[in-house]
Amino acid sequence: MSERLGDDELHAYVDGLLDQDGNDRVEAWLADNPDQAERVRLWQEHNDGLRRLFDPVLDEPIPARLLPAAIRSRSWRNRRLLALRVAAALALVLAGGGGGWWLRGQSSTEAQVAREALAAHVVYVADQRRPVEVPGSERDQMATWLSKRLGAKMAVPDLSASGYQLVGGRLLPAENGAAALYMYENSLGQRLTLYVRRAVDDGRKDLLFQGRDGTLAGVWTQGPFGCALSGPLPREDLEPLARLVWKQMGTARTS
C-alpha cells in the first residue's frame, strides 16, 4: 500500500491542478482508499454542481443596465444627484443666512451682474451635450474672440490647480450688451461658471455673494468688467476660487 497522500494533493487533483503523473498517482492511491475516494468524489460533485447551478448565467442576455454605456451615463447622473444634494443643503444655509455681504434685494451693479450670472449658470450648467460654444482646448482663440466682443482685453482664468478644468466658453446677451461665460468642471462633475460683462467699477473692493436655488455667485467689479463666479458650493469653498479668478483677471488687464 502506498504512502498516505496529503489533503493538498487531493484538492489539487479535484481542481485539475496536477499534471498527468500527479493525477495517476492520486488515482492509484484512491483505488486503495475508498473512504478518501468518497470524500474526493463528493468534492468533485460539488464543483460540478456549482457549474451546473451557475454556468447557465453565462448564456443569459446581459441586462441593459449593466452595459458600459448605461453605467457611464448612470454614474454621471449619480454625480449630478450628489451635486443637487449639496445644493439643496446649501439652499437651507442660504435661507437662514443674510450677513452684510449678501446681495439679496439690492439693486447695485453687483446685484444685477449676480442675477444675470446665476440665470446663465442654471441654464448652461444643466446642458450636458452643448454646455459651451467653444471648447476649452481653444482657450487662446476664445479669449481673443470674447475680448473683442466685450470691447476689452480679457484672459481666461486657469483653475486647474484647484481641480477645475476649463470646459469652454460662450457669448451671451447681457443687459448692457455682450457677456462672456466660461465653464469649468472638476473630476466629480461639479461645474463652475465665470460670467463677465462690461460694468462700471464702483471702487468697491469687496467680494459679494448672491445665492439662488442652491447656487452661489461671488461677484465683484474690476477695471471695465463686472464678474461673477457661480457654482454649487458653500461660501467657504467658492470664495478662494473667486479670489483666484479676481487675481488672474487683474493680471490679464495690465497685459
Binding site: D8, H11, R39, H46, G49, V57, L66, I71
Partner: protein, 167 residues
C-alpha cells in the same frame, strides 16, 4: 477601448456574483453594476498589470464582502481560520446531489470559505490566483478551501432529506 474589453467580461462577472450571492439574481446584478461602475471610473489605474478578469473579480469580491459585513450577515464573529475542522463523515453511497440544496448550503458557508470554493470550483482559478484576488496568503486560501469543502459536505448532509434520522 475600455468598453468592449469590459463588456466581454460581463457574463463571467454575473456568474461569479450569482454564486457569491448564492443564487440571488437581483442582488448579484446590483453587485455587477457597482463593480463595473468602479472599474470604469478607475480604468486608468488598472494599467494592465494584472489580468483584466482577475482585477474585476477582485473589485466585485471586495464590494460583496463590504456588503456582507454591512448587513451583518456573517454567521459568527469567530475567525473562520481558527474554527476547528468538523469531522467529515463520508456520506451514504449514491446520494443524489440536489442542486437546490447545494445553493442553500453554499449560502450558509462563511463568506471567506464560500468565495474560495466559488473561485476554485466555478471560476477555475489556481490557488495562487485565488490568493491574488482575495489578497490572502496561499496557506490561508488552502485552509479555507479544505474547511469550506468539509463544511459544505456537512451542510449537504444535514439538509439532505435522505439522511434524516428515522426514529
Amino acid at each position: 477601448m475600455a468598453d468592449s474589453q469590459i463588456e466581454a467580461q460581463i457574463p463571467g462577472l454575473r456568474r461569479y456574483a450569482r454564486a457569491l450571492c448564492a443564487g440571488d439574481a437581483a442582488q448579484a446584478d446590483d453587485l455587477v453594476q457597482d463593480c463595473l461602475e468602479r472599474a470604469l471610473s478607475r480604468w486608468a489605474s488598472w494599467r494592465g498589470e494584472s489580468e483584466l478578469r482577475l482585477w474585476l473579480l477582485a473589485i466585485l469580491r471586495n464590494l460583496w464582502l463590504d456588503e456582507v459585513r454591512r448587513r451583518g450577515a456573517r454567521p459568527d464573529l469567530v475567525d473562520v481560520d481558527d474554527c476547528p475542522d468538523s469531522l467529515a463523515v463520508p456520506p451514504s453511497q449514491g446520494q443524489a446531489l440536489v442542486l437546490r440544496d447545494l445553493a442553500g448550503a453554499l449560502g450558509r458557508l462563511a463568506p471567506e470559505q464560500r468565495e474560495v470554493l466559488v473561485l476554485v470550483g466555478l471560476e477555475g482559478l489556481s490557488y495562487a490566483q485565488v490568493a491574488q484576488v482575495t489578497g490572502t496568503p496561499m496557506g490561508t486560501v488552502m485552509s479555507r478551501l479544505k474547511r469550506g469543502r468539509d463544511r459544505l459536505a456537512q451542510l449537504m448532509r444535514e439538509d439532505g432529506p435522505a439522511l434524516r434520522r428515522v426514529k
